[in-house]
Subunit: 340 residues, 2 copies
């Protein structure tokens, strides 16, 4: 062993970091895989229904951008308690955000004392607040995922190479958060241009909310998947009205969603789902909220709609469409999961 090799080996050992992955649906698995693919990360994945499969054989990943392989996380655990046997550099949250059922800080529980940074890969707005209030000492990386992934028959298919936007949730920790975010971006594969670091991450979050709040809501309330929804007479004016309400609320809290953002989002949706001639026998896409609704599972209505209604109320922005949608979905949710 030469003198030169020793410190390098030592260095290599030092940079192996541990990630706790909570939520092993398509988004969680894709990002757990990307992290381990960096060679610098060991993932401890919390798996419930898929515990045996993930532990024994792992999951096949077929990605147009990241190649194909079988991924088995470094460790597979049944619960967060079980996984609290060590410290983690990151806790990556890719589960549904349901503050009205169980807030994120309660999902994480005791492991929060053993985590250096929490990464939220979840939809909606206002999702960081209660966690940050509960643990002001832990920096939160807020992440918005635009990616087309699906799991079927234990195969994760990643078709559309899109983007992960990440940024720190408020710079209140007095440490070098830029370095923290950049480091995570590199682990996640920034060299592949998948990850974009944003200084004002909330803008990205509200941008994605435009689509989510509008089309999750319309699909769920009408019970229609996207293609059938987009053929409905009057869907564009209604969708635009909802997006206008979101943009007005965002503007009130200082986030600019320009008019083109809305028209682009509507155009893209119509282009993607609105073509009647191009029907074929493809299965029609159901937004996640509609799937949850059909399966009688709690829906992410608080961070998709409730938070908008509350923000709009604070700033006296009228959001009547969202208000009605929220009321209807909330009253269903309460009958499902009970009042909070």
């Amino acid at each position: 062993m030469s003198k030169e090799e020793l410190p390098q080996n030592k260095k290599r050992e030092q940079i192996v970091e541990h990630v706790l992955l909570i939520g092993t649906g398509a988004i969680g698995i894709l990002h757990g895989y990307l992290l381990e693919k960096s060679g610098k990360i060991k993932v401890t994945a919390i798996c419930r229904s898929n515990y045996d499969t993930m532990k024994d054989s792992g999951i096949t990943i077929k990605s147009s951008s990241f190649g194909s392989c079988i991924w088995r996380p470094h460790r597979v655990m049944r619960s967060i308690e079980e996984a609290s046997d060590r410290e983690y550099n990151y806790a990556v949250c890719a589960f549904k955000c349901l503050p009205d059922v169980i807030p994120t800080e309660r999902v994480l529980g005791e492991v929060l004392t053993r985590v250096k940074c929490v990464v939220l890969l979840q939809n909606g707005v206002g999702i960081e607040r209660s966690l940050q209030m509960a643990r002001p000492d832990i920096p939160i990386i807020s992440g918005i995922v635009w990616v087309g992934v699906n799991i079927r028959d234990n195969i994760l298919v990643h078709e559309d190479f899109e983007k992960l936007y990440i940024g720190i949730y408020k710079n209140v920790h007095g440490r070098n958060n830029a370095e923290l975010v950049n480091h995570f971006a590199e682990l996640m594969g920034r060299e592949q241009e998948y990850v974009i670091v944003k200084e004002h991450i909330q803008q990205s979050r509200w941008h994605k909310l435009l689509w989510n709040a509008t089309f999750n809501t319309l699909a769920t309330l009408s019970g229609l998947p996207m293609r059938r929804l987009m053929r409905g007479v009057g869907v564009l004016p209604i969708a635009k009205s909802i997006m206008d309400e979101i943009a007005a609320t965002a503007a009130a809290i200082g986030i600019d969603l320009p008019e083109e953002t809305i028209s682009d989002s509507l155009d893209m949706t119509m282009k993607y789902y609105g073509d009647i001639g191009d029907d074929k026998s493809e299965e029609d896409f159901k937004p996640s909220m509609l799937i949850d609704y059909e399966m009688n599972r709690p829906m992410e209505i608080e961070c998709i709609l409730g938070e908008v209604v509350r923000m709009a109320g604070m700033y006296r922005v009228p959001v009547p469409h969202i208000e009605l949608a929220y009321f209807i979905l909330k009253i269903k949710q309460v009958s499902l999961v009970g009042a909070v």
Copy 2:
């Protein structure tokens, strides 16, 4: 036979009038019964699913105000075509008003040439227009029913003695419409204070719409019957917002629904359905639109919501809550009955 008796007998014979009754649900049967009870009317009732029962044994009526008896209409027919064998003084329409499925003038069809006056006992607004345009020569009596009736096991139970408001739909016929309406009111039993003749009947129609558009919509969209709906957090502000939109639309077309109308309607609804303590084992009331929705039957959304959206659009009154509700219910209706 004295000289004096003869003309009186003749007169008595003359005043037997014929009524064609279309729609033999609870509302149709109650009013058919009241008309025959006058002794001056013979009812020809169109019965489909209940043809055999109505023809053979009639229906038991138990009414707190009009007594109990078995009513069998003078004639029971399977179809309007079959019933077109004679002329009628009145065609009383008590069927669901579904212009997007089949407009009233098409329901009536050829019999319209043998009818002197059409009486509409239906909910919603704008329900007279297309019929009047199709047959400008026939006067239309517009009627709004506030009554608590139910049919179960071939028994019609009439519990709450309330009101029937009637009035002529626009005075464009150049005849004595006041006399026409008064005469019908007397046949219907005005002496019992059940029928109120109104000069401005549209005001009564929009007044009833306040409740119907609001609570049919909220119950149907949420899938909840009234008691469960009224316990929903935030139901009163949402209901008031919808009522405000209806009142603003009414105001634009010259119909005044004062603020007290709205607060009274909300108070009454809360008093009736909102009392958690008074739950007992009573069945929870489902508005008719919710029942139709659950049975996959077409809903009266055009005359309850669509007409408001169109009127509001013409006068540029913002009705965002109603607009969203209409869109959602309409897209379901179209998938049920096809586009019109």
